[in-house]
């Protein structure tokens, strides 16, 4: 068996397709592409496809890692071509290579968040990001029960940079991601909205990279 990590970009309106639905979408794509995929055993066999990290609804991605398992080797170029020939609008396989890091090594993600200046000024945003007490509600678990928890977002902003682009503001931010703790920019903006008392929704949010604990690129 041959493990391959493909990098998929998800751009445009397909960003409103949820993580769960992406799963089915990819399963069908590999069927159409007739990739010699390894199927799980059991009563209802399905092709082995593993999304390393869910992309939040409404967020675009440029290189989302997905692990697949082949039963026979295949030139990477051919794999790319075959998949890209059958992908729906907005999805593209950008690269394919043998996995290097283990999925559990994902610790952070970097996002580009574009905001309309008409919605928020740079001063307001800077104030919110540096106030130290930005909070949001996040669903979590207590034992087996689902509960809502208040999270102090400020503590979790690992890095950020704000660029003034005239009509728009570009916020580049590094937030925790991975299997232990996740905070996404939609939640961050909810926290900012809460502080400002009005809804601020970024017209464009893109996850640009997944990072390891030391902020080196996850590959």
């Amino acid at each position: 068996m041959y493990d391959v990590r493909i990098r998929v970009s998800k751009r445009g309106r397909i960003k409103f397709v949820s993580h769960l639905d992406m799963f089915r979408t990819m399963q069908r794509a590999v069927r159409r592409a007739e990739i010699p995929l390894w199927y799980t055993e059991g009563f209802n066999p399905h092709p082995y496809i593993s999304y390393l990290l869910a992309l939040p609804l409404g967020v675009e991605g440029v290189a989302e890692p997905i692990d697949i398992r082949l039963v026979e080797p295949m030139p990477m170029e051919e794999l790319l071509d075959r998949l890209n020939a059958v992908m729906p609008e907005g999805l593209r396989v950008e690269s394919a290579a043998a996995p290097f890091h283990k999925p559990a090594e994902i610790a952070f993600a970097r996002y580009d968040v574009t905001l309309d200046r008409a919605d928020i000024t740079p001063e307001e945003l800077t104030e919110a990001l540096t106030c130290g007490e930005l909070t949001c509600e996040k669903s979590g678990k207590s034992g087996h029960k689902k509960i809502m928890k208040t999270v102090n977002v400020s503590e979790h902003i690992r890095e950020y940079r704000l660029e003034d682009k005239g009509e728009q503001l570009l916020l580049t931010v590094v937030l925790p991601a991975g299997s232990t703790f996740n905070l996404n920019p939609i939640q961050l903006m909810e926290a900012v909205s809460g502080r400002l008392g009005r809804r601020i929704y970024p017209p464009l949010t893109v996850r640009t990279a997944l990072l390891c604990e030391d902020l080196s690129e996850f590959i």
Binding site: R13, F16, V86, P203
Partner: protein, 611 residues
């Protein structure tokens, strides 16, 4: 994508319902097509995307270079609210362009309770709901589908209806429209020409008069429109257009798989069954064609399930040949086959064996009635012995859950007939436990689904009164109290919903006012229990001065002019009358394979049925 849309989509449930961009959806250059067609499905995305008719016509129109067909579904209430408050009009999924700017808007009428959704969609598009208030050549608002067999309750909202199979007449309408558009003609001229096409019904050209007692007196054509409009029939299913790809939804829809219609019509002629009489004559597609088309569809969609959907799929004469052809390649491709409508009386051991290893979740049978007398009345030619035999085969084949479909409120039904449903279900349970070879370690689960009988146009029961709301309630209670075993689950359909369905199924044109009133008072998504507002409906009838009981619960005599008498669906009225008389005597009619009963439908197919 519209910027306003980007901001509201995160606020609604399942935003992917509203984005388009699915695999195989068709994008064209709008400046290079002559006709833009909006295919509207008046229910949610999940229901609409499960429907085969939309897939066929979508591909058929898009196969033309001069036309672009796009899809539109009814936005769910949360989305509607956002659209209205942000001033976003109803738009088509492929281009995002407002539906209002399309040339043709085509609805499919699948069930009576979607009528308010049609009005709501037209209104969301920014269009007047009444045909008479839409003056220009564009958009023309039209409809087809099963409820178009009696479109009178919605006649005031539509410019024209297409009756019967849509594949051929759709192209004729598009050609005609294109010619008129290029010529710069007006709506009246187009409609006048359209009314001359076989299968096209332009309701505004027919004047309906009523007798003092409220019954239709006469239906009088004008503008040279024909006295009778005959439905269209596709004669050769092997050569008729069939899509080579389906739009593959991102989100989970009700039926998410390759669906294939293997024949049209049904040989059985169960007397309550509108689908049967509307779709006759019987025409089959060859196993080779079906097999090849399924292969291509699986390849182009990536689906891993094929469903052979026809009215009574196991009556298809090539079923064994087809299954063995499919089973040649499907296991290797890890594709499942589902046969949803198997009848009990020809479910052979052999057929079941071929399907083993395919899917073994549950099995459904539709005896429809609990006693032999009642089954004879409705011409459901199934005996108790056959039901037990089939259950035995199924249990031996590893099934342990059985779902049985019945109807309450059938003509001549007595309390014994109602109780018979429970006894029959109990016998199925007993059959399971009497078998030494029953599946080990599992109990049996028999679920009984009891719907309410609704008399429909073009069936032998079209003259019968529907059981009243009170009667149906009593019947449901009786069945519930008769139920003898914990292994049996009984589920019912909402009685008020069935009542309203009954009103509109056999309604006349005056009901357009009621529908408009109810919609204005907030009725939408009436087929969804949590949205259904029965009291609002009753108020709307009252304020329009019409009595729903007149439509649902009244017996018509054979001589009465029915609101759909100017429409011809092949089966003759004389035949339906004869069948109604036979029903009263509990006399059955043999199926078409045994003997042609002369229903009249074959005249639309050169005198021929594929039996």
């Amino acid at each position: 994508m519209d910027k306003r849309l980007e901001k509201i989509l995160p606020l609604v449930q399942k935003p992917a319902r509203y984005t388009g961009g699915e695999l195989n959806s068709v994008i064209k250059d709008k400046n290079s097509v002559a006709i833009r067609y909006a295919f509207c499905f008046p229910d949610s995305y999940e229901i609409g995307m499960s429907h085969l008719g939309i897939k066929i016509l979508y591909s058929l129109i898009n196969a033309r270079e001069d036309a672009w067909c796009e899809r539109v579904f009814a936005p769910w209430t949360d989305m509607e609210e956002q659209m209205r408050s942000n001033g976003i009009p109803l738009y088509a999924l492929e281009s995002g362009d407002p539906v209002k700017d399309f040339d043709l808007i085509g609805f499919t009428l699948q069930y009576e309770l979607c009528y308010t959704n049609i009005l709501n969609m037209l209104d969301l598009a920014g269009l007047p709901v009444r045909a008479a208030d839409r003056k220009g050549l564009s958009p023309i608002v039209m409809a087809g589908g099963p409820c178009a067999c009696n479109p009178e309750p919605v006649a005031e909202f539509f410019d024209l209806f297409l009756l019967g199979d849509g594949e051929e007449v759709m192209n004729e309408i598009l050609d005609l429209y294109k010619a008129h558009k290029q010529r710069g003609s007006d709506k009246a001229a187009f409609l006048k020409a359209a009314a001359q096409l076989p299968g096209v019904y332009v309701p505004s050209f027919y004047d309906v008069t009523y007798r003092e007692d409220g019954v239709v007196d006469a239906i009088i054509p004008a503008e040279g429109a024909p006295e009778k409009i005959t439905k269209r029939v596709v004669r050769d299913l092997d050569s008729v257009f069939y899509p080579d790809s389906f739009v593959v939804p991102f989100i989970d829809v009700v039926f998410d798989r390759v669906t294939h219609e293997i024949f049209r019509g049904c040989i059985r002629g169960c007397r309550f069954c509108q689908a049967c009489f509307l779709s006759r004559p019987i025409r089959e597609k060859s196993p080779d064609t079906i097999n090849e088309q399924c292969k291509v569809l699986c390849k182009n969609t990536g689906y891993d399930e094929i469903s052979l959907c026809s009215l009574s799929s196991s009556d298809y004469s090539g079923i064994e040949e087809l299954l063995s052809k499919l089973l040649d390649w499907t296991p290797g491709e890890k594709v499942n086959i589902a046969l949803p409508s198997l009848r009990v009386d020809n479910f052979s051991d052999e057929l079941l064996k071929k399907l083993t290893g395919v899917r073994k979740s549950g099995l459904t049978f539709a005896p429809e009635a609990g006693t032999q007398r009642m089954r004879d009345v409705i011409n459901k030619n199934v005996t108790e012995e056959e039901i037990m035999e089939t259950s035995r085969i199924a249990f031996a084949g590893g099934y342990s859950a059985v779902k049985l479909y019945f109807m309450l409120g059938l003509p001549t039904e007595t309390p014994e007939d109602v109780q018979g449903i429970a006894y029959l279900a109990k016998k199925v349970v007993d059959t399971f436990y009497s078998m030494p070879e029953k599946p080990k370690g599992k109990g049996v689960n028999v679920s009984v689904s009891a719907s309410n009988f609704v008399p429909k146009p073009f069936t032998p029961f079209q003259w019968e009164p529907q059981a009243t709301v009170e009667e149906l309630k009593e019947k449901q209670d009786l069945l519930l109290h008769t139920c003898p075993s914990k292994k049996i689950n009984i589920s019912f359909h909402d009685i008020h919903t069935s009542f309203l369905e009954g009103v509109f199924a056999r309604g006349d044109r005056r009901l357009s006012r009621v529908i408009e009133t109810a919609w204005k008072n907030g009725c939408v998504f009436d087929s969804w229990n949590d949205h259904f507002r029965f009291d609002t409906w009753m108020d709307s009838f009252a304020s329009c001065g019409l009595d729903p009981v007149f439509y649902a619960n009244r017996r018509r005599d054979y001589g009465e002019t029915l609101p759909w008498d100017h429409l011809d669906f092949g089966v003759s009225k004389g035949y339906l009358e004869k069948e109604n008389e036979k029903a009263k005597r509990a006399e059955t009619t043999a199926n078409c394979k045994i003997k042609c009963a002369g229903c009249g439908a074959s005249k639309l197919n050169g005198g021929h049925c594929d039996v």
